[in-house]
């Protein structure tokens, strides 16, 4: 009987892997708002480029939970992208991630005269690098800010504000019409974090963000942080945030915004794709940066933008070279253009938008980045330290829904930062001020 169970388990395992042999590359991916088509396309391109080889591509929203045991057993797929529950930095420290140095030096697919690493937008590779090696590659170039309902704005003659004063005035005007100026994805306070991080930058400039990311002692308690928290709170106190926002999931809040019950919502460039099925005909959306603040160091145009750390090749994969080859093809100019066409979002690859019709939402994000004249920023504490991300989210919830004083908000976060600093078991990360800011 037991033998029967065991053989059935073995055969079940074989059945699942039946498609895999020496000439098959297996890629496992997060299946979400982007769908799978762009990955299948890259798989077909891979098979065309390498006759005799096969690309076995599959996806699932919980792909990491599904493959975790395979990683434990030392039998992972050849290329991987997970979102849910995954902590890639823990994986890196545990030796699960292969360095991609040879891939970075390889010629670009379809543009053999240049190197693969030189095809990315400036700064796009930063997040995936650790101690001089590239471990993760980005899928998208995300721009984050406030999205507004273009028709509503045009109808009332509202304009994206440049200063904090103008922003408050605009919110007053919107509120006077009975529409809520803002709605946010309260169940996940990280979305309000888009407003918070932008204010941090506009107040304290890039040096502040770097100190906060590096968990410099006392940094999270600085007056700039307290001020950013106070401004976050001000929007709630003035009644600009739709009642009940604190209970909304991301899609519910975005739905409410699409229905015209609120004028603005904080989100990233994935918004249009995520809500694809729910966007009413004729609805137009554009992104704007948070305004400049009096006496602040950041300009009105500065906007949060970054490429992620998403794709990686497992160190124990059977065919690491094939996994890397797939990445070379997936992140080629040709496939990046296909991505814009199929998904309507942007890969951080030079020339990705050439000859492709860009939807208005994405175009507005590209315009915003252009207008920022290189003044784009991002923070990293969230992906380095899960507890820090968790702590900031909970502190934001306490600030916005319970009304704790901004000083207390800053104190709570500094306390978590201190705990991480003092815990020798947590691997510490460090970033330098990007070069163009070092003046």
């Amino acid at each position: 009987m037991a033998a029967l169970y065991i053989t059935s388990i073995v055969y079940k395992g074989r059945g699942g892997m039946g498609k895999l042999d020496e000439r098959t590359m297996e890629g496992a991916f997060f299946q979400g708002g982007y769908g799978m088509e762009w990955l299948y396309d890259a798989g077909r391109e891979f098979e065309r480029a390498h006759p005799g080889y096969k690309a076995y591509i599959w996806g699932n929203p919980r792909v990491w939970d599904q493959t975790r045991t395979r990683f434990l057993a030392g039998n992972p797929p050849d290329v991987f992208w997970g979102i849910h529950n995954i902590n890639i930095w823990v994986n890196l420290q545990e030796g699960l991630v292969a360095p991609l140095d040879s891939l970075m030096e390889a010629p670009a697919y379809g543009q053999e005269h240049i190197k693969f690493k030189d095809t990315f937008l400036p700064g796009a590779l930063d997040r995936g690098r650790y101690e001089g090696h590239q471990y993760f590659l980005p899928i998208t170039f995300a721009v984050l800010g406030l999205w507004y309902n273009v028709n509503m704005f045009e109808e009332h003659g509202w304009k994206p504000p440049k200063t904090w004063e103008e922003f408050l005035e605009l919110c007053d005007e919107i509120k006077a019409t009975g529409i809520a100026p803002l709605v946010h994805q309260g169940r996940y306070p990280s979305y309000y974090g888009i407003i918070f991080r932008a204010l941090l930058y506009k107040i304290g400039g890039y040096r502040l963000l770097i100190d906060l990311d590096n968990l410099v002692p006392g940094a999270w308690e600085r007056p700039e942080v307290v001020r950013a928290a106070r401004m976050c709170r001000e929007l709630v106190d003035r009644g600009y945030v739709l009642e009940g926002s604190s209970a909304f999931t991301h899609t519910e809040a975005q739905m409410v915004w699409l229905q015209g019950k609120a004028a603005m919502v904080p989100c990233g460039t994935w918004l249009e794709n995520e809500m694809k099925e729910a966007i009413p005909p004729g609805f137009r959306m554009r992104i704007m940066p948070l305004p400049a603040v009096p006496g602040g160091k950041g300009s009105a145009e500065a906007i949060e933008a970054s490429a992620g750390a998403d794709l990686w090749v497992p160190a124990q994969a059977k065919h690491k070279e094939l996994g890397m080859e797939f990445l070379r093809i997936l992140l080629s100019k040709k496939m990046a253009q296909n991505f814009v066409r199929k998904v309507g979002d942007l890969m951080p690859i030079k020339g990705a938008t050439e000859g492709v019709e860009i939807p208005e939402a994405l175009q507005s994000a590209l315009d915003a980045v252009k207008a920022a004249k290189g003044e784009t920023f991002y923070m990293r504490f969230m992906d380095w330290y899960e507890e820090m991300q968790d702590g900031v989210n909970n502190a934001l919830a306490a600030l916005l829904y319970e009304g704790i004083p901004p000083e207390e908000f800053a104190r709570r976060i500094e306390k978590i930062a201190q705990r991480i600093r003092e815990d020798p078991t947590i691997v510490k990360y460090h970033r330098e001020l990007p070069e163009r800011w070092r003046t």
């Binding site: 009987m1 037991a2 169970y5 939970d65 975790r68 990683f71 434990l72 030392g74 529950n85 902590n87 823990v90 994986n91 420290q93 545990e94 030796g95 699960l96 309260g186 169940r187 306070p189 009642e243 009940g244 926002s245 604190s246 209970a247 909304f248 519910e252 409410v256 019950k261 899960e386 507890e387 968790d390 909970n394 502190a395 919830a397 306490a398 829904y401 319970e402 078991t425």
Partner: protein, 292 residues
């Protein structure tokens, strides 16, 4: 038992026994070891760290917060559910209401739905924008209904309400079957003595439910300390950890933060607390069983 029959019995029991051993007993024993390591749950590497996880736990404010919330859910659930369930059961068995069959089925209904579906359903009901609860209140003229799951004041009570709603039917059926075991002549005697319905309940019904009460207290303890799915789906522990329970906190530690060792230590603590309380409650309730 005939000679040699035990071989046949062993043969039939063995597969189940092996499965139970491999999938239940071994992991439980193994857990005690993992709780003493720094395992991340992503590779096979783990180092022994002794009781470090447990000392971390004692100094972890979020652990205590989760424990506090878990106790809150257990106590509220554990008092509200038996009271309501017993009330319904008595009302039905004593024929105090008309159409008791209908109510019996209706109240039991939540037990036929999976907890996940219940939680998703109630999230919709409690949505401040399109939820029927808020819209019903607006209809009644309430201007600003609370954001239910979005406020630290209301969210824990919403969880309690859903847990109670989901559990009452089951306990009602338990009490009903116990009530049906009480001989009717006792009630007849009470009636002849001129006892009111209330007096009859306190002096006849309630004392004779002792056995089933013991069982339900243990059930409710286990149910309360194991609070997970409803919280995970409806609030994910938020807002600001106001509904985080030990079970959701250990899940986050294991699967989100990659701290399997620490999460296992919390699981062991949870196990010890539940086990001790269950033993205690059985012991405290140990008394002469009423014979009838």
């Amino acid at each position: 038992m005939r000679k040699g029959q035990w071989k046949v019995i062993a043969l039939f029991i063995a597969p189940a026994f092996v499965m139970y051993g491999v999938f239940m007993v071994y992991p439980y024993i193994r857990a005690f070891y993992i709780g003493l390591t720094d395992w991340h749950g992503v590779s096979t590497r783990m180092s022994f760290v002794g009781l470090k996880n447990f000392s971390t736990m004692l100094h972890d404010p979020y652990f205590w917060n989760a424990l506090k919330n878990t106790v809150f859910f257990t106590v509220t659930n554990g008092t509200i559910v038996p009271i309501i369930a017993l009330f319904f059961a008595v009302a039905m068995s004593r024929g105090l209401v008309w159409g008791s069959r209908f109510f019996r089925i209706t109240y039991f209904f939540p037990n036929l739905i999976s907890v996940v579906a219940i939680a998703v359903l109630w999230s919709f009901v409690l949505n401040p924008d399109f939820g029927i609860l808020s819209n019903f209140l607006r209809l009644l003229g309430v201007d600003n209904p609370p954001p239910w799951l979005g406020s630290v004041k209301t969210a824990p009570w919403c969880i309690v309400a859903v847990k109670v709603w989901a559990a009452v039917g089951f306990y009602m059926i338990l009490y009903l079957s116990a009530l049906e075991g009480i001989p009717t002549d006792l009630y007849d005697a009470a009636k002849i003595d001129g006892a009111s319905e209330w007096k009859t309940f306190w002096h006849v019904t309630f004392p004779l439910l002792g056995e089933i009460m013991k069982v339900t207290v243990v059930f409710l303890l286990l149910n309360g300390f194991g609070t997970f799915a409803v919280v995970k789906i409806m609030t994910d522990g938020g807002p600001n950890r106001s509904t985080e329970t030990l079970a959701t906190y250990l899940y986050d530690n294991a699967f989100k933060f990659g701290k399997f060792g620490y999460a296992t230590a919390i699981a062991i603590a949870l196990f010890l607390i539940t086990f001790t309380l269950a033993l205690l409650s059985i012991r405290l309730q140990r008394r002469e069983t009423v014979q009838y």
